[in-house]
């Protein structure tokens, strides 16, 4: 045992005044009595058991001296060197991703991880510091670097796992920013889907959580309109190592419409297609009701929204284009009006305008597909070097293969900055798309897609890509529901709803959306919404979106007992180090207890009064012998 502040031993000198005060303590009130005869007998009775009396006589003094002893002991700050697993500056990365909700370790992986973190906090030495980082899709610091165990515990109690995937690279960047010399990074995780740990700098440790990877998940739920009605497609995946048979039920608008037991072999998936459903249903929920080897319940439900039952209106401005008319008439929920000129502005507006080699002035905030020669954007000649270069990521080119498409020549569009090339050829862009696109007349289009060549000068209308492109473009320009709100949203994702929209989360009260969009998508389920606009059609005015866990990465919850963290593969190896463990607080508590005991003894008074029973008789004047 050593002392950090031995100089405080000088405080022990306070014992001298205590003893002095004790010796000089009592100034007794003098009380004449007729005789002290009986009182002396009382004292003789009391002093019959003298040893105990002598002990008790000084009980208060002893208590006071011991109190002082413990206080001095606390002041000199004694410490012992103890073996600690970790010391110095610690950064704890606590996995709060969805896989931590698995219950293969009771009560859950996350609680086990929290317990491990608490253990680390308990081991924290006096000179150690700890930072807590919760790792989900947006890693965040729970508690800044501190030695305060109670603060660390409090912040640890506040954290809960989310339905998201852990973003380990962001967490490691965060840890690297906080770390420095002598920092030890501790990863508390199930190790599922964590592969970026090599980037960790400095010492690192991995505390694995979890025992089993058994999990049955709904990995796909899709809804589509076919000629036979609405059909749903469910895929159930078995991420575990044991075959299972799973009872899956399907509810439409809250009513059970079908249930089926699916045999799902280990590591594989089973599918189920339900055809000819009522096209009028709006929501669909698939859930796993029974499964033997299922430890994660977050992925046992999936939701889908049927948005294809509202009509969109399109105005096709063309002098006649059979391909275009055919393609648009084949699209569901789209009513196409053909015209050769723009109707007067007072008449009804359209969700979407298609310009086929027409030079018209479009109304402001319109959505437009502009094909071929046009007057909306300025052009500067044509180019014929149309060999395919690459496709940018964009909704309108989903599932589209441009490599087989040949175009004779393409107009070079002087595109504004918001109109971005989507398909690039060697000579220039072959397809452009953008939002908030200014036209020549300085008004804006809300959304625009530009196909800068005449359809008849290419083989595009003959290709399978054409209907796909048209469907994508129409869905992009006039989304099935208002303002291109996606029907499928991941938990935590921000839904770009305009300000003023009202969202109805499942089982909660409606929330008004502010300028940042709707971000509170943490619960899986169907979210209805209503826009605060006077849009052209009912379809543009409201709808619903489904927040789905549907995350094959987090559904694969098999724990990884060994993980590459830092520059060495570490597991739960224990590296013991010496750390100083102070215990002045114990001493202070003991001193306080003694002080309370001393007060109690004083209040009780018994020993206090006994303490002064010592006879301090003055020598009595010698008795004159009476001889009378």
């Amino acid at each position: 045992m050593n002392f950090l502040n031995p100089l405080a031993l000088l405080a022990a000198l306070l014992a001298v005044p205590i003893i002095l005060l004790y010796l000089l303590r009592l100034q007794r009130r003098e009380q004449p009595v007729s005789s002290t005869l009986l009182w002396r007998q009382v004292i003789m009775d009391r002093e019959a058991n003298t040893l105990w009396q002598k002990l008790r006589r000084n009980l208060l003094l002893l208590l006071q001296l011991f109190t002082l002893l413990f206080l001095v002991f606390a002041l000199i700050r004694p410490y012992v060197n103890v073996q600690s697993q970790l010391s110095g500056k610690l950064i704890v990365l606590l996995d709060t991703s969805a896989s931590m909700l698995a219950t293969d370790v009771a009560p859950s992986r996350f609680e086990a991880a929290r317990a491990e973190a608490l253990k680390l906090i308990d081991q924290l030495g006096n000179n150690d510091q700890m930072t807590l980082i919760a790792v989900d899709d947006a890693p965040r610091i729970l508690s800044t670097t501190t030695n305060d165990a109670s603060q660390l515990r409090a912040s640890l109690n506040d954290v809960a796992p989310t339905l998201t995937t852990a973003n380990w690279s962001a967490a490691i960047s965060l840890a690297a920013g906080l770390g420095g010399e002598g920092t030890t990074t501790i990863v508390i995780s199930d190790g599922a889907n964590a592969e970026d740990m090599q980037l960790l700098q400095g010492a690192a440790r991995y505390i694995p959580i979890g025992s089993s990877g058994d999990n049955i998940a709904i990995s796909t739920l899709s809804l589509r309109r076919t000629v036979r009605g609405l059909s749903a497609f469910v895929r159930v995946s078995n991420n575990g190592a044991q075959d299972d048979s799973v009872l899956v039920s399907l509810k439409a608008d809250g009513n059970l419409i079908d249930a089926r037991t699916l045999a799902v072999p280990a590591g594989q998936s089973a599918t189920w297609t339900i055809n000819a459903m009522d096209p009028a249903i709006t929501t669909l929920q698939a859930s796993i009701d029974q499964a033997k080897h299922n430890t994660l319940s977050a992925d046992d439900q999936a939701y889908a929204v049927n948005v294809n039952n509202t009509m969109r209106r399109a105005l096709l401005l063309t002098r006649g284009n059979r391909f275009l008319e055919q393609a648009m008439s084949a699209l569901p929920n789209l009513r196409t009006t053909r015209a050769v000129a723009l109707p007067p502005a007072s008449e009804q507006t359209y969700d979407l305008y298609v310009l086929d080699n027409m030079t018209v002035t479009l109304p402001a905030n319109a959505n437009a597909l502009i094909i071929g020669t046009q007057s909306v954007f300025s052009t500067s000649g044509t180019f014929s070097n149309t060999a395919y270069v690459r496709t940018e990521t964009h909704p309108i080119v989903q599932d589209l293969d441009w490599r087989t498409i040949n175009v004779l020549d393409i107009q070079r569009v002087n595109a504004p900055a918001t109109l971005r090339p989507v398909i690039l050829t060697q000579g220039g862009p072959a397809l452009l798309a953008g939002e908030g696109v200014p036209m020549r007349n300085l008004t804006q289009l809300r959304r625009a897609v530009v196909l800068p060549f005449e359809l008849r000068r290419s083989d595009l209308p003959l290709q399978i890509a054409f209907p796909i492109l048209m469907a994508n473009v129409v869905d992009y320009l006039a989304p099935p529901q208002g303002l291109n709100v996606p029907t499928q949203v991941r938990p935590g994702e921000i839904v770009a709803l305009p300000e003023g929209a009202v969202v109805q989360p499942p089982g909660q009260s409606p929330v008004a959306v502010d300028a940042r969009g709707f971000a509170n998508t943490n619960i899986a389920g169907i979210y209805g919404f209503r826009l605060n606009t006077s849009a052209a059609s009912e379809a543009m005015n409201g709808g619903a979106f489904a927040v789905n866990f549907l995350n094959p990465i987090e559904s694969a919850i098999a724990p990884n007992p060994q993980l590459q963290v830092g520059n060495a593969t570490t597991n739960a190896t224990v590296q013991t180090q010496l750390t100083q463990r102070e215990f002045w607080n114990v001493m202070a508590v003991l001193a306080l207890l003694l002080l309370i005991a001393e007060w109690w003894v004083y209040q009780r008074g018994v020993p206090a009064r006994l303490a002064s029973l010592g006879q301090t008789a003055q020598p009595a004047p010698s008795t004159p012998a009476s001889t009378k």
Binding site: R29, V33, L613
Partner: protein
């Protein structure tokens, strides 16, 4: 001092000795000597030298044997009142309103003396104060009553104004109880001896009482203690000062100590009771705050001191 009415109520009382004593004068008490009164007591065989006048001739005629007829002899009784006037008797707790110990003791002495005088007994009163031993009597007859009152009032005037508790010291009595009793026992005529004292003496009381008891005196110990002694209301850290000896005693008083004091007190009085009984005496502990009527007409009569 005492009211006429109260004294009148005492007139019919008699001191009740435990044994019959022989006196020198014919009084109103039955004597152990067979004598010349008219009350028949017994017969005994004639022995030569007996007064032939006392032979019961009727018996002789019937039995032809001489018997002496014995009669109760009626005699007077000497009543001794030893009134302790040591400083402890004259002490008074400062917050007491009741008649203080010395005054009550003096009144008791006067009342008992009056009863003795009124019943024709011979009365001797002696006190032992810081001023020395003072003596009254022997006197008999109601006429001595006024002198007795004068004597006791004289005592109260000389030595016993009310003594506040905070006086530094009273000094010692002229003589310790034991010495006083032993000295008195040497000269005392047999009779009834009433000791009015608190018996609070450093030297104790045992030797003195033994001496008195063996001088053919009926011991009547009237133990006078004031409330401050019977049930002291002291608390806290005190330096107790004995007003007789100036001795101090540091004491921290709490309930436990007070309980121990009370137990000690009852043991002490029980010891005195025993001591007096074994010497054929009586003992009565009286609280000096009680009224005279209570002490004399109730308590002492109940204990057959007075009949």
């Amino acid at each position: 001092m005492l009211s006429e009415a109260f004294l009148r109520s005492l007139r019919n009382l008699r001191l009740n000795p435990l044994r019959r004593r022989s006196g020198s004068l014919t009084g109103e008490r039955r004597s152990v000597r067979r004598g010349r009164s008219v009350e028949f007591a017994d017969y005994r065989n004639y022995t030569p030298g007996d007064d032939p006048r006392r032979v019961d001739w009727n018996i002789y005629a019937r039995l032809e044997r001489p018997y002496i007829k014995l009669f109760e002899d009626e005699e007077d009784l000497t009543t001794h009142i030893l009134l302790d006037s040591s400083p402890s008797m004259q002490w008074q707790d400062e917050d007491e309103d009741t008649p203080y110990k010395w005054r009550r003791a003096a009144e008791l002495a006067v009342a008992l003396g009056y009863i003795a005088l009124a019943s024709g007994d011979k009365l001797v009163v002696e006190t032992n104060g810081s001023a020395g031993v003072q003596h009254f009597g022997p006197r008999r007859g109601g006429a001595a009553m006024a002198e007795l009152i004068k004597f006791v009032e004289g005592l109260m005037n000389t030595s016993s104004t009310r003594i506040p508790a905070n006086v530094p010291a009273m000094g010692k009595p002229a003589m310790p109880l034991n010495d006083w009793f032993k000295r008195y026992a040497l000269k005392a005529k047999p009779g009834l001896c009433i000791i009015i004292s608190d018996l609070l003496d450093e030297g104790g009381y045992e030797e003195g009482l033994t001496a008195l008891g063996s001088s053919r005196l009926d011991l009547h110990v009237l133990h006078t203690l004031c409330p401050a002694e019977l049930d002291p209301q002291l608390i806290g850290d005190l330096k107790l000062k004995d007003i007789e000896t100036n001795r101090t005693q540091d004491l921290s008083l709490d309930d436990a100590v007070m309980a121990q004091y009370r137990q000690r007190l009852s043991e002490w009085t029980a010891a005195i009771t025993n001591f007096a009984r074994r010497r054929g005496g009586r003992y009565h502990l009286t609280d000096t705050s009680l009224p005279m009527e209570q002490i004399l007409l109730k308590d002492l009569r109940r204990e057959t001191w007075l009949v």
